[in-house]
């Protein structure tokens, strides 16, 4: 499965890491290159995003599905797949649209992992 994630990462220039975590930031599946920022891989950062996603769903515009955060050097895209969270860390020059398009490719993998996490 990590190999599959690495293959997906090779499709788009600039992706540094793809993480699938639970709501507490514990990684279920992780694939990262050496250029991925270490701070963004910590559970504290990922937990905050998970909580922000849940709270953003109360703003009256429906459930939050994706969050895209563009920073100076990096961009972080999160897909809300309760109880899991898919996070992609890429360079700020990477194609954001193509990163968002990866959701469809990751959906079957996330579905299988969801079944594994639910059993725990």
């Amino acid at each position: 499965m990590k190999k599959y994630l690495h293959e997906i990462m090779s499709q788009i220039d600039g992706i540094h890491a793809v993480l699938i975590t639970d709501r507490d930031g514990v990684p279920v599946l992780k694939a990262a290159t050496e250029s991925a920022p270490e701070l963004a891989l910590r559970p504290g950062f990922l937990t905050t995003v998970g909580m922000a996603t849940d709270q953003a769903g109360k703003l009256g515009m429906g459930k939050s599905q994706r969050i895209a955060c563009i920073y100076g050097k990096y961009q972080v895209i999160h897909f809300n797949r309760f109880p899991l969270m898919v996070s992609m860390i890429a360079s700020s020059t990477a194609n954001t649209g193509m990163l968002l398009g990866l959701e469809a490719e990751l959906s079957s993998l996330v579905q299988d992992l969801k079944a594994a996490v639910d059993v725990i």
């Binding site: 499965m1 599959y4 639970d22 507490d24 930031g25 514990v26 990684p27 279920v28 599946l29 559970p43 504290g44 937990t47 905050t48 909580m51 922000a52 709270q55 109360k58 703003l59 490719e105 079957s108 993998l109 299988d112 992992l113 079944a115 594994a116 996490v117 059993v119 725990i120």
Partner: protein, 164 residues
Amino acid sequence: MGCCFSSDDDKNSQDGEPNERTTLLGNPVSSSSSRPTSEDYRRRISYPLSKKAEEAAHNRILRYVEANLIDISHMNSQLEQQEYLDRAHEYSHKIATTALAYTYLQKRPFVLVDLPAPEKGLAIIPIPWSDLKLLNNTCENVLNALQEIKVEHKEELVVQFEIH
């Protein structure tokens, strides 16, 4: 300059005859029989709301508020290191042992799905440009020739069939 005042006196209507002060619709404040009050509503309910129903209503309201309240005070709460490691280990063990259908790992061909070996067809040396030109010219000439075909008849096309 002027003044206006009103009076609640009903002296003029005491004799019962309608005048300019008589209201058309009746007095909505003083008449008790025309409009039901909250007392009437309460009396209509023959039994009071039970405690259980009241509690259920309170719980429903609490749940609604809890679900819709935006609360960011617990954003900084984090797992302990040991619990984090235990859970990560549990997940990796579970994924390794669970038999997952790796259907997503099968690569789907992106082009030429109907050809069994597209790479062989693409590896062939292409037709030279002069041959393609020759083919195109020949086809054009054939089309032109077909359009120029005419039938010229010298005798009658329809002949009487005679029996002797």
